[in-house]
């Protein structure tokens, strides 16, 4: 799949966040979005996920001709979408059922317990999500990436709250996703160590 931004302008609450932004992300490539706080990194990711409308320009996604663009991407934002009253496994089983497309033939995500084990959460699988630490919540959210295979990963500060070992695991998972022909757009301040990766620096907002 190939993702292309064609001179996109984003406006929120009457303020231009960025204008005339263009880039291409090829299959198997990562795009690292950097920039100071408030530069519009999160807004760009939300726009890519179709959660924000672009004021001008458009995103073109070659693989999404048959599906909505939202349905081929994973979005890991600041909120982790975990329900405190449900166990980690119940949370993840729900999202895997909801995010897996039925009937499109794209079956075969990881089983929930395997995805949790990959992120080192096997011991916490049956705990209510309320008992997890910030880093564990983040890892449970990241496990969503594995249970429902989708070609485009939109990661907003994926390293937040992760310890060194988990950061390494996430690095391996992301590298495997790229090797499998997937794409990643990540907003981050810390280097992710992904290859091949392009950089996109968003300017400061005046």
């Amino acid at each position: 799949m190939r993702l292309e931004a064609r001179s996109v302008t984003l406006i929120r609450a009457g303020r231009v966040i960025f204008s005339d932004l263009s880039f291409v992300v090829e299959s198997g490539n990562a795009l690292i979005v950097s920039g100071p706080n408030g530069a519009g990194k999160s807004s760009l990711l939300r726009a890519l996920a179709d959660l924000l409308p672009a004021a001008q320009g458009s995103f073109v996604c070659a693989a999404a001709a048959d599906a909505r663009r939202a349905e081929i991407c994973h979005y890991i934002g600041h909120a982790d979408a975990l329900k405190n009253a449900l166990t980690v496994t119940e949370n993840l089983e729900f999202w895997s059922a909801l995010l897996l497309q039925d009937g499109s033939g794209r079956e075969g995500g990881w089983p929930v317990d395997a995805a949790l084990a990959r992120f080192g959460l096997a011991h916490a699988a049956n705990l209510p999500a309320a008992y997890l630490s910030a880093g564990q919540r983040r890892r449970a959210a990241l496990a969503r990436l594995l249970v429902a295979p989708r070609p485009l990963w939109l990661l907003d500060e994926p390293l937040t709250a992760l310890d060194a070992a988990s950061q390494a695991v996430l690095g391996e998972v992301m590298q495997a996703h790229l090797a499998g022909g997937g794409s990643i757009v990540a907003a981050t301040h810390a280097p992710l160590g992904l290859a091949p990766a392009q950089q996109l620096a968003l300017g400061p907002r005046l």
Binding site: R12, R46, A49, D50, L51, L52, P53, A67, A70, E71, C73, H74, Y75, G77, H78, A79, D80, A81, L82, K83, A85, L86, E90, E93, F94, W95, S96, A97, L98, L99, L100, Q101, D102, P111, D113
Partner: protein, 228 residues
Amino acid sequence: MKAKPRPSPLAALLARELRLARRLGGGASLGLVFFLILVTLVPFAVGPDPKLLARIGPAVLWIAALLASLLGLDRLFQADAEDGSLDLFQLSAVPLELVVVLKCAAHWLTAGLPLVVAAPVFGLMLGLEPAALFGVAASLLAGTPALHALGAIGAALTVGLRRGGLLMAILILPLAVPVLIFGVAAAAAAAGGPVPFRTPFLILCALSLFALAGAPFAAAAALRQMNE
């Protein structure tokens, strides 16, 4: 470990909502207690006149049910908006309208249906005739889905507001007036009146169907609007 077949997205969503309602508690039981207290307050206010209470009983039960069903609705979408679930709903192949329908259905099963079941019991406290008890239960069964569907619009419109509950009630209560009129009319007709029970009851059913058909689109549009 377990090699369960993957549930369909819709079944998974309904199961999650019911499970959350059960684990969090509050919703259904608090609504019932609120309903009970409202019904209990009326005899204190109007005085212990059995004839008068039996005459206004259906109306009292309906107003109490209306207020009780608004009670838990303000959190219908707010919790999902706060923890990011609402974003993910929009990334799934399930249309947001269908998500609204299922969340409403789950909420009605856990908060609306108990009111319908309890209404005849509470009606006894107001000295209602058996025919009127049946009328109240039947009209609530037909009418509460409309209240919940309308409430979903209000909940979606106020999802971004910190204290949206009161605003939601102000937005929704005027819209609930037709449901209230025909609900009480049906309940009163069942107790014996010039109008046959069927006439207001069928209009009430029509109102419910109308609300169920339109509200998911309105609520989903309001939720999408929140993105901007």
